[in-house]
Symmetry: C2
Subunit: 367 residues, 2 copies
Amino acid sequence: MIETIHVNLNNYSYNIYIGEYIFNNMFISSIFLKNKNNVLITNKKIEKKILKNKNQYFYKILNKIHYFSINDGENYKNLYEVEKIISFLLNNLYGRDLNLIALGGGVIGDITGFVASIFQRGVNFFQIPTTLLSQVDASIGGKAGVNHILGKNMIGSFWQPKGVFIDIKFLSTLPKKELLSGIAEIIKYAIVFDKIFFIWLENNLFKVLNLQKKELLYCIKKCCELKVKIIENDEKEIGNRVFLNLGHSFAHAIETFTGYGKWLHGNAVSVGIIMSSYLSFYLKYLKKSELLNIINIFNNIGLPIIGPSTMLPLDYLKLMMRDKKVINKNLRLVIPVSIGKVKLISSIKENILLDSITACQERRFFS
Amino acid sequence: MIETIHVNLNNYSYNIYIGEYIFNNMFISSIFLKNKNNVLITNKKIEKKILKNKNQYFYKILNKIHYFSINDGENYKNLYEVEKIISFLLNNLYGRDLNLIALGGGVIGDITGFVASIFQRGVNFFQIPTTLLSQVDASIGGKAGVNHILGKNMIGSFWQPKGVFIDIKFLSTLPKKELLSGIAEIIKYAIVFDKIFFIWLENNLFKVLNLQKKELLYCIKKCCELKVKIIENDEKEIGNRVFLNLGHSFAHAIETFTGYGKWLHGNAVSVGIIMSSYLSFYLKYLKKSELLNIINIFNNIGLPIIGPSTMLPLDYLKLMMRDKKVINKNLRLVIPVSIGKVKLISSIKENILLDSITACQERRFFS
Ligand SMILES: NC(=O)c1ccc[n+]([C@@H]2O[C@H](COP(=O)([O-])OP(=O)(O)OC[C@H]3O[C@@H](n4cnc5c(N)ncnc54)[C@H](O)[C@@H]3O)[C@@H](O)[C@H]2O)c1
Ligand SMILES: NC(=O)c1ccc[n+]([C@@H]2O[C@H](COP(=O)([O-])OP(=O)(O)OC[C@H]3O[C@@H](n4cnc5c(N)ncnc54)[C@H](O)[C@@H]3O)[C@@H](O)[C@H]2O)c1
């Protein structure tokens, strides 16, 4: 069975399809086979594992599409690769009637969406997310972009896909550490929106990690629904969509500091959520017991709760001041006030932020 | 007196202000002086001629704004300069509340608008056009973008300014060949939309070229009004906005072939309009007398009517196939069917196009 979630954004509405073996579906396969202007963007690793892997059931569909591969990795999510993709498209005389297809994780999705938004002032694109992280998060919502050496995702646009095709079959070749990275974003949704989901995760996360079909599909669908509800009301992140950035100011600082690709995005998000939760506890919003629950859920599944040892609290501060949530040089941060509820705080005193980062780095959560 | 044209694009509406000494107006000057997050983007030539020129009345306003200069010229309208501007903004900790101000001709306007559309997924920007071409055309309508080595304006977006500030005082330092280049776009409007305006131009074009205030202001306002009417109905160029591209498929081919900056945009447009007009005559749409009127108006004012001698008809064809109007590898072209009326044609036979380019290049207009 294929589950369909409709994303209602007026002229930019689209469907998310979720299931197993979804490319066997006639309607879906025809989207990818019938159109002469499809170009698939992927990376060299996925080219090998998916496109050229005859043992995979989707080989017969996806391998028929004209494609272009960039290098694999977060450190290739930049303007130079964007230009390479565009050169490929122009050399092959693709025009405004092009459909780009992103086949890969969040990196491929973000860069392909961005190219789609700027190639000849905008063309259609589709998302086929192949990592857990991109299936629950990155492929939905239309945030596209690339990194700048001075900051993550600093160059980008809002550009909605025309369809998102989520097949859990892709996850069978995904390394465990990448699955874990996706789990971090799943936990994020629960902390931001839904205490009951959080409790469900406390009991079922290992099943998700082991790709047990029922739990996995439930979990992906749940996250998609939560995200869709938010973006339908706030496509351009003027309001509540910012809540989805829980932990991300810290996470982006870690990723920028250590060099793109050194820390997996989900791992950085895990640490970032711990840091925002601790800050909230420090500011007397979050209860000690809930802080403990949050630390435990990440820790138990094997996600990091401490940032890189080489990174000083001041390093965080400096990089966080470049965050997109900074307004008038005033840092704004999302923190959980309880599990299932977050708020945006601003005018945070520097010394409070530094103290609380220090405490986290030294594991002094409750001293 | 300051004329105001309102551009009605729902959430993206804005005003165009046209006049002389407009920065003496309190309301206008306050926009540029009161906001701490203004950053002006310009080039090194304009920096010297306008920003740092104490003899210019607008010095006292514009010189107070934090600014960044890129190199001067069409060949710097590319992704590398985009990245430089973004580095400057990030190094100075500008965030989403930034207002970018484009001070310059179409090159600065196009690149600044593009940066505004992708910096942290989009920030506000204002246009202060300082060339005739940008005052009558490039600064209005929200087409932003940069060139790719394989084709002009191939990378870009639609991103509306929050205001356009047109002061004819800027034109006093503009070289005559640049004024002429702007004149080509002015003639374009007349051929596309308005025979009466065409006749007015036949009689008054030299006054415009000599910057006679009354005629100049009339002409700028007229062009802005014509453009605004089109974009209000078709912001994203799905319909009639394409008419504004009369001559541009040929022009972009010339600019790409000769190397960006070698041929002024307006000069290339002049040749492009002659070529589309001749094609129209060849296809028995345009009358001989009107073709003659069109050739004469460009020729009399001193604009080129023949393309670069090194460029073969096949060179045009190859480059035109990368035009944004190509759909399904099918070239579409705007041609004038009479003065004041154009149409979009498609499925043009290659040999017809080649023949008619050859005839133009050999000046065999009526043989
Ligand atoms: N746009 C958004 O809303 C959004 C949201 C969250 C994260 N992101 C971005 O997503 C990126 C992280 O995404 P990611 O975690 O998917 O990383 P990723 O895209 O780098 O993929 C992780 C690794 O897995 C490989 N891979 C992908 N699919 C595979 C498969 N089926 N089998 C084997 N290997 C496979 C990739 O080649 C890569 O090496 C970050 O750049 C982050 O900023 C974007
Ligand atoms: N976005 C649009 O809708 C649109 C429409 C038409 C053209 N364009 C683009 O505009 C560009 C051409 O614009 P342009 O003709 O203004 O060229 P330009 O921006 O290169 O300016 C021409 C020259 O005049 C100089 N200059 C500018 N103002 C001056 C002043 N007041 N005094 C002295 N020198 C001055 C510039 O530094 C430059 O050397 C092309 O890239 C074209 O593609 C865009």
